[in-house]
């Protein structure tokens, strides 16, 4: 996932607009990815996942795009609502031997302006 300093990247969008949140992942061999949403004082919440044999996956108001060539993930949120304000981060699953290693990015803070 993206590596940033102490300050998270921020994104502010107007209510009703579409949001695009980006993530650069680390390992070209990673085979599974998850986007999480984390609201203040809460634990991460699963939003959508995608396997490496797919380029795109859609959920309810959310779409994840995977570009393996440049090791990039994006999360698109349609018609962004105030309740979408949160930190969003991606995670990648890297197969290692007989197990898996999951790596988490540091996240992007999304603020929705009413």
């Amino acid at each position: 996932g993206e590596s940033v300093g102490l300050h998270l990247p921020t994104l502010s969008v107007q209510e009703g607009d579409n949001s695009i949140i980006n993530c650069a992942y680390s390992n070209s061999a990673s085979d599974y990815f998850i986007w999480y949403k984390q609201e203040s004082g809460k634990g991460p919440q699963f939003i959508i996942d995608i396997r490496s044999n797919m380029d795109k996956r859609q959920g309810q108001r959310v779409t994840v795009l995977l570009n393996k060539t440049v090791k990039h993930l994006s999360l698109q949120i349609a018609a962004t609502q105030p309740g979408d304000s949160a930190v969003y981060f991606c995670a990648e699953n890297f197969p290692r031997g007989t197990g898996n290693q999951f790596y988490f990015g540091t996240g992007t803070s999304l603020t929705v302006i009413p």
């Binding site: 996932g1 940033v4 300093g5 102490l6 599974y32 998850i34 004082g41 809460k42 634990g43 991460p44 919440q45 699963f46 981060f89 995670a91 699953n93 197990g99 898996n100 290693q101 999951f102 790596y103 988490f104 990015g105 540091t106 996240g107």
Partner: protein, 112 residues
């Protein structure tokens, strides 16, 4: 919401004291995980369990131990807390190895 309860939710303690955090699940998931979350870092795995009495280390396991005597409970112990262990701790569960699906709401631990 997945049935994961962490306790306590907040704790302040002094350097050198032992601390135990508890995670309780009602989902009967096989895998349970402890992570810590710090500014500037993504979630980092401390320890995980793949069954009753079966545990293994994660990437930041030094200074921590775990136990799982029942499917539903996973305990994280700091034997002698240090200020560097001040963090927010999350428990997670899942049914696939290495892939946490559901998280608890965290324990905010401050070590003075």
């Amino acid at each position: 919401d997945a049935g994961i309860t962490q306790s306590p939710r907040h704790k302040v303690t002094e350097t050198g004291t032992p601390v135990t955090l508890r995670c309780h699940q009602t989902e009967n998931h096989r895998y349970m995980y402890w992570y810590r979350q710090d500014p500037g870092h993504g979630l980092r795995l401390i320890h995980y369990s793949y069954g009753v009495k079966d545990t293994d280390k994660g990437e930041v396991s030094d200074g921590y131990s775990v136990s799982r005597s029942k499917t539903e409970d996973f305990l994280l112990t700091l034997e002698s807390a240090t200020s560097s262990q001040t963090s927010v701790y999350f428990c997670a569960i899942g049914n696939r190895g290495g892939q946490p699906q559901h998280f608890g709401d965290g324990t905010r631990l401050s070590i003075l």
